[in-house]
């Protein structure tokens, strides 16, 4: 086991935007409890801009920190810009992740994609 960066621990300790949005415009649900990580991302979109975002996560320290970080990264961004955020960008913003935990950043990216997909489905 490699140690977590200070930034990961800081987000783990004080997760940003944890919780749920009532009447969201899109919800992403990825992972499974079998693998040990489940992420749910809720987004509120106005004029193609993500105005609010919240998460709920079952998972390890890295899963919680990456969830928290992706909500910070996408808030206020245009939907198409937000989709450009890669898992690597999430990991980098956290000061890196141990190799065995990179999949948590992938999950965060997928959760966002899934939430946007859901948003598109609802609005068309």
């Amino acid at each position: 086991m490699q140690n977590y960066s200070e930034k990961v621990m800081e987000h783990f300790r004080n997760p940003r935007n944890a919780g749920e949005i009532k009447n969201p415009d899109g919800v992403g649900h990825v992972g499974s409890s079998v693998c040990g990580d489940v992420m749910e991302l809720y987004i509120k979109v106005k004029d193609n801009v993500i105005t609010d975002v919240k998460f709920k996560t079952f998972g390890c320290g890295a899963a919680i920190a990456t969830s928290s970080m992706i909500t910070e990264l996408v808030k206020g961004k245009r939907v198409n810009e937000a989709l450009k955020i890669s898992n690597r960008a999430v990991a980098e913003a956290l000061g890196g992740l141990p190799p065995a935990k990179m999949h948590c950043s992938v999950l965060a990216e997928e959760a966002l994609k899934s939430a946007v997909e859901d948003y598109h489905k609802r609005s068309f």
Binding site: M1, S33, G36
Partner: protein, 389 residues
């Protein structure tokens, strides 16, 4: 911040008495135990004294004790050494499904060499079934290895009964006693054992030293080839200071054994009751009574173990988990899955292991802090929300 150590199954701090006993063997009594001169002789006599202490504790003869580098080496020694020395008799080994990786991985290695291994399943408490064992035995079976007590869930196996079956069938019987040696009475004759592994750092001794008990007359291949140390069965310059420390640790354990057991059981049960009574949707893993005096293993539903361990660490409490997320592999503990636990509960396990320096206030502190952590993580968990509906 105060720090509370509740991971004694991982390792224990060396007793100051142990350090005191070891210290001269690094400096003025630094001799090589194989040398002829007085420096060598004083080192050798210290090693032999420790050997007597370990042997006495096990009810064995001194010449039946081989000093090793620890539990993992002792286990590798047994599996590879017995398999190789007895392959003309048979190629079948029997172990339990919840052995430590220091047993299962050598078995995987042996399977690649053409040996066959039966992994005995366990019941929901982690106990092996004696009828299953009897059924698994064939005329090719050369070794049965079942751990005395499990390192994760603390379940204590019916070693004496397993040993009786092995004896009747004339099959070598080994137990990995790393978690019990120095904590529970272990007598090789009473338990019908031919081989036993133990490690010093689990009983307030130094890391990097352990022992293997081998019953007289047992055919086993040497583990390391080189010098003629340990009766030609384990080459390498002896770790004199480590062995002396091990011996002292065993003496101290012997003085405390019954009293300490009682004290730990009462603290253990307080912690178990406190968790199960005060936090909803929790379960005890392992057997309620056939259990190591110091082991508490619980699963907390809807949340994951590593995030609990990290949060507890932030509050100064050190414990461990069988969650996949705490290891480099992504499967949760094979021990918890063998109990039939669903993945979610296996991922949500917490292990607290108590020890010589554990005080009641520390248990109270855990019981004060843990419900808050569980509450915080559950409020963030999508599974908790789903289940509430």
């Amino acid at each position: 911040m105060k720090r509370i150590y509740l991971d004694y199954a991982a390792t224990t701090p060396a007793d100051p008495e142990v350090i005191k006993a070891m210290s001269p063997y690094f400096t003025e009594r630094f001799g090589n135990a194989s040398s002829l001169h007085s420096f060598g002789r004083e080192a050798r006599s210290a090693v032999e004294q420790a050997r007597k202490t370990v042997a006495l504790f096990l009810g064995a003869k001194p010449e039946e004790i081989i000093f090793t580098s620890g539990g993992t080496e002792s286990n590798n020694f047994v599996l590879k050494g017995i398999a190789d020395a007895n392959k003309s008799k048979g190629n079948h080994l029997i172990i339990s499904a919840i052995e430590h990786h220091a047993i299962t991985k050598p078995c995987k290695f042996l399977e690649k060499q053409g040996f066959k291994v039966t992994y005995l399943k366990v019941d929901r408490y982690g106990l092996v079934d004696l009828q299953d064992l009897k059924r698994a035995i064939t005329d090719k079976t050369i070794l049965i290895s079942v751990m005395h007590a499990n390192n994760e869930i603390g379940v204590i196996q019916p070693i004496k009964e397993i040993g009786k079956i092995a004896k009747e069938q004339e099959i070598h019987f080994h137990t990995d006693a790393v978690q019990t040696f120095g904590h529970l009475p272990v007598n090789v004759d009473q338990l019908n054992l031919d081989l036993l592994s133990c490690s010093a750092h689990k009983l307030y001794g130094p890391k990097g030293v352990g022992a293997l008990y081998v019953r007289e007359g047992t055919k086993i291949l040497p583990f390391m080839h080189g010098g003629d140390q340990e009766n030609d069965r384990r080459a390498s310059t002896r770790n004199v200071a480590g062995i002396v420390g091990f011996g002292r640790a065993v003496e101290l354990a012997g003085e405390k054994i019954g009293r300490e057991e009682k004290r730990l059981i009462s603290l253990r049960d307080k912690l178990i009751r406190g968790v199960l009574d005060n936090i909803g949707r929790t379960r005890l893993n392992g057997h309620p009574a056939k259990r190591l005096p110091n082991n508490v293993n619980v699963s907390v539903k809807y949340i994951e173990g590593e995030s609990m361990v990290l949060n507890l660490d932030l509050e100064g409490i050190a414990c461990s988990t069988g969650s996949a997320c705490a290891s480099s592999i992504l499967d949760p503990s094979h021990v918890l899955l063998a109990l039939g636990l669903p993945h979610e509960l296996a991922h949500g396990s917490l292990r607290f292991t108590l020890g010589r320096y554990t005080k009641e206030e520390e248990i109270n502190y855990v019981l004060e802090v843990l419900p808050k952590i569980v509450g915080k993580l559950r409020s963030m968990s999508p599974l908790y929300k789903t289940k509430k509906k």
